[in-house]
């Protein structure tokens, strides 16, 4: 399709239009998965381990099964021993011979009420014999305790390098780092640690499953990836995937925490066993002990510079703690390497990303997986270097950033590079000239880059006889506004208003494939597919008009909801009616795939995501105060300068930035799933502290628009980058305000005050 032929008219795309699902959400009529019910529905609950690593001696459910109202109890013994997983097939539905973490599913119950289901959980007798466990990812690499003693038998992607608890090891290499260290003016070596962070979506994971008379199952669920969930369910249920139907009614946030199968399989298995619809809704405790949070990480970073602060070489090792199953850990460890390289001319690179198993919660792909962990290390160290060399931290960055046409870490040519503009604008807006305005007050800056994830999107667009269009997409509207954005692109291209676009629900049985609401790609990729469909429809409309008028299609235009040729005009609505009489109606299938740029495979080893598509560039700056007695951080102001390529809807882009920064502030200052001896100490929202309205400052958003060649009207991915920089920017501001440098997240008041006291002594 000739999608390039469309240019944004500024009429719909680029405008601050209200989101399409807003009214339903403010009046309480929008149906989320957690709201979905069916007549006769049973309530499912999961029995989870309270031991971090133990052998299962006995499971006796006879008492539970005898409780009136209990309709089924299932354990690993009742289902085929399927193991699933993206990179390594290591995850069973229920614990097999051993429980591998606190929160590991042991059994599932379905009952006529939730209360009876809870009674049944308490009546299942489980005997566990505790085993030695491993919690520290670096200790785990010694393989003294194996999380998966059968690791060699597990199916895994051939690209992965595995060894016992090591689930993957990716590398990026460029130039000669040893030579760089040998000739360096200074070499800096530091280690950083980050904590496990929950995605924090307000709607828990929820699924309702029901089987029909033909043995097909339908699951209504709040997944970000309906097609991936469909495939995983098909494997677990041993069905062809076409017999598994996944419908996403509505979803209350995801942030990467609802990518992979969550509770869908429990609902489907219980529904099959009971021949009744079954609903499973996660509790807060399950969310904080057994969802898929952001991995914790350890980063060792060694950097060589010359006298002027020019980077000569970087050696880095990041250890990503996957928990008990690999999940997205191998991908996260790999992607972290591009973040460690940063938007910098590094001279030479030797980076290694390791994913490792421990007896903790299996982690997932929380927004910009690896981004904040690696960025915290790189950008903290940039400030340490700047301080040591007596160079302004902004100036040090400007001396080292990449420019248009430079090669990226994979040897790819970087295009639409805007990092200098982002840095300068963020610095100016925060008032960088006055970096330490008062005692205990300071400013910090951090910058990064990030990809727009590839993967394909398909859409069907149908023109209705009233002249409106219906968009059928398999992409889930997570709340970001991405589907409103894609609809703005579609409306713009078809000369319609946004109110002329109807959006159909996501249903794997009827929706065209979409790679999913992940990786900052939805508006980008669905928008491109919409442009392709619009180009097809425009041609169909021209052909129909040409038939009506007995002329050729040359010089025809689609404008003001009409096809226009010279002094002739016919409305889209009229053509849609004509097509219904003669041609079965107007419909187009638009598709999009953004091919990765050319790169040098010689620079990479065992890397799952070897090169970044359509990277975006960004900088964030913060002005904060630290109470020297209590260590409490108060953020006065926050600035983000982010290159979005083209702002399809500035309002919701700002919303993405403000929300992402808020999550990053949480990661920086307060959020951590705290483990002690393998047990989660804060599995509730009282003790797991996410930012409230009082913890998030006013945020200034500067939208830089350096158009990409690949995105709709030049757009780049937006959603993930805002949460990458806050830990580093805040750490740098704390150091600027107090002189105290924090190397581990979250930077709680306790840690800060301890640093301040140590410095005073």
């Amino acid at each position: 399709m000739n999608a390039e032929a469309f240019r944004a008219t500024g009429r719909v795309a680029g405008k601050r239009l209200p989101r399409m699902d807003g009214v339903g959400k403010v009046v309480g009529k929008h149906v989320y998965a957690a709201d979905f019910t069916l007549p006769g529905m049973l309530y499912g609950r999961i029995l989870r381990s309270k031991k971090p690593h133990a052998r299962i001696v006995k499971i006796d459910a006879s008492r539970a099964k005898a409780i009136p109202g209990v309709r089924a109890v299932i354990t690993a013994a009742d289902i085929p021993a399927v193991r699933y997983g993206q990179a390594v097939r290591d995850a069973p539905v229920f614990a097999l011979d051993r429980v591998l973490f606190y929160g590991h599913a042991i059994a599932a119950v379905a009952a006529t009420t939730l209360e009876i289901a809870e009674q049944a959980l308490a009546a299942i007798d489980v005997e566990l014999e505790e085993l030695p466990a491993v919690y520290d990812p670096e200790e785990a690499l010694a393989n003294a305790v194996l999380v998966h003693p059968d690791w060699q038998d597990l199916k895994a992607l051939p690209i992965l390098v595995r060894d016992g608890n090591m689930a993957a090891c990716a590398k990026i290499k460029s130039g000669d780092v040893d030579a760089a260290f040998a000739k360096a003016y200074r070499v800096y070596e530091h280690s950083f640690k980050t904590a496990i962070q929950h995605p924090g979506y307000t709607e828990p994971r929820a699924s309702v499953a029901d089987w029909d008379a033909n043995g097909n199952v339908t699951v209504w669920t709040n997944t970000q990836l309906p097609f991936d969930t469909q495939n995983t369910l098909a494997e677990i249920l041993d069905l062809p995937s076409a017999r598994v139907r996944v419908i996403v009614p509505g979803i209350g946030g995801g942030f990467g925490g609802k990518l992979r199968i969550g509770v869908e399989h429990y609902a489907a298995l219980l529904a099959r066993k009971t021949a009744r619809p079954v609903r499973v809704l996660s509790t807060s405790e399950e969310e904080l002990t057994a969802a898929t949070p952001r991995q914790s990480a350890v980063v060792h970073l060694k950097t060589a510079v010359d006298r002027e602060g020019k980077l000569l070489g970087r050696q880095g090792r990041i250890i990503v703690d996957c928990g008990a199953f690999a999940g997205s850990g191998p991908g996260t460890a790999a992607v972290s390497l591009q973040v460690l390289a940063g938007p910098y001319r590094n001279g030479s690179l030797a980076l290694e990303g390791v994913a490792v198993y421990t007896n903790k919660v299996p982690a997932g792909s929380f927004r910009a997986p690896a981004g904040p962990m690696a960025n915290f290390a790189v950008e903290s160290q940039m400030d340490i270097i700047a301080d040591d060399l007596g160079i302004d931290p902004l100036e040090l960055r400007l001396r080292n950033i990449v420019h248009e046409g430079d090669l990226g870490p994979s040897g790819e040519v970087l295009k639409a590079v805007s990092i200098e503009e982002c840095l300068r604008k963020a610095a100016e807006a925060i008032g960088w000239h006055d970096r330490k305005p008062a005692p205990g007050r300071g400013k910090g800056i951090a910058c990064s880059w990030w990809m727009t994830t590839g993967g394909s999107s398909g859409v069907y667009v149908k023109i209705n006889p009233d002249g409106t269009a219906t968009l059928v997409s398999g992409a889930v509207e997570l709340g970001t506004g991405a589907i409103t954005g894609a609809s703005q692109v579609l409306a713009d291209a078809l000369s319609l208003d946004l109110s002329d676009i109807n959006v159909a629900g996501v249903d794997t049985q009827t929706s065209p494939f979409d790679y999913g609401a992940q990786g900052s790609r939805t508006a980008f990729s669905v928008g491109n597919a919409c442009l392709a469909a619009a180009a097809d429809l425009r041609q169909q409309l021209f052909d129909l008009a040409a038939q009506q008028w007995n002329i050729g299609t040359e010089g025809m235009e689609l404008r003001d909801k009409q096809v226009i040729a010279g002094n002739k005009a016919i409305t889209i609505a009229e053509l849609a009616r004509i097509s219904r009489l003669s041609g079965g109606g107007l419909i187009a299938h638009g598709t999009a795939i953004s091919p990765p740029p050319a790169y040098d495979p010689g620079k990479l080893e065992n890397h799952l995501l070897p090169v970044w598509n359509t990277p975006s560039f960004h900088a964030q700056a913060v002005d904060l105060s630290v109470d020297s007695e209590t260590g409490t951080v108060s953020i006065n102001r926050y600035v983000v300068a982010q290159d979005v390529g083209f702002a399809i809807n500035p309002t919701y882009i700002e919303g993405q930035i403000e929300g992402g920064v808020s999550q990053g502030i949480g990661q920086a200052l307060s959020e951590e799933i705290v483990y002690q001896d393998g047990r989660v100490m804060n599995a509730n929202l009282t003790d797991y502290k996410m930012p409230t309205a009082l913890d998030v400052p006013e945020i200034t958003c500067i939208l830089v628009q350096c158009a990409s060649a690949a995105g709709p009207f030049g757009a780049k991915g937006v959603g993930e980058p805002p949460c990458i920089h806050p830990p580093a920017a805040i750490a740098n501001a704390i150091a600027s305000a107090t002189g105290a440098r924090l190397y581990s997240l979250p930077m709680t008041a306790e840690k800060i005050v301890k640093e301040l006291r140590t410095a005073r002594e």
Partner: protein, 171 residues
């Protein structure tokens, strides 16, 4: 377990139902009456998504026993504006881009309504608004646009402006 007859007044309508004495108002609203606009999450009054109004004041329906709501006027999000006739707060939330996933929004709007109604004739500062909504978690927005919306609604009620979801406010 013995169910008792409860009479609840919800959005001006009387509802009679048999309920267990330990059922919360949230359980009754969602599980018995089927009004799903009031949301469910932490069940320990930390997240605020279950907020409803009791005689005009915001309460967490996850901790309030349904029986305790007898004799009081309960207002849920379904009792505020309707799509064709939105409450000014609902309109302001849309116009200001304060809605993303929307799961916290019913609770957020009712919290804001309670706060504004308790402080008539007054436009609160942004900091005061932040304090008023600090009991409701939103993970999507970073709160800025929610504060914008509440501030806008507070100003409009003094000046008599009415926001509707028109193209003027949208642009």
């Amino acid at each position: 377990m013995s169910r008792k007859l409860l009479e609840l007044t919800i959005n001006g309508e009387k509802h009679q139902l048999l309920a267990e004495p330990h059922w919360t108002l949230l359980q009754v609203l969602r599980g018995q009456i089927g009004m799903m606009g009031t949301k469910e999450n932490c069940l320990e009054a930390e997240c605020g998504v279950c907020t409803v109004l009791l005689d005009g004041h915001a309460v967490n329906s996850c901790l309030l026993l349904a029986g305790q709501a007898e004799g009081h006027e309960i207002t849920t999000i379904e009792g505020l504006g309707q799509p064709e006739n939105l409450d000014p707060l609902q309109a302001a939330f849309i116009a200001c881009g304060a809605v993303q996933c929307g799961y916290c929004i019913p609770g957020m709007i009712l919290t804001a309504k309670s706060y504004l109604d308790e402080n008539p004739g007054y436009v609160p500062s942004r900091q005061e608004i932040r304090e008023a909504i600090a009991g409701t978690l939103c993970r999507c927005t970073g709160y800025s646009k929610i504060v914008d919306a509440i501030s806008q609604a507070a100003q409009d009620r003094l000046t008599g402006n009415t926001l509707t979801e028109s193209k003027e406010t949208a642009a």
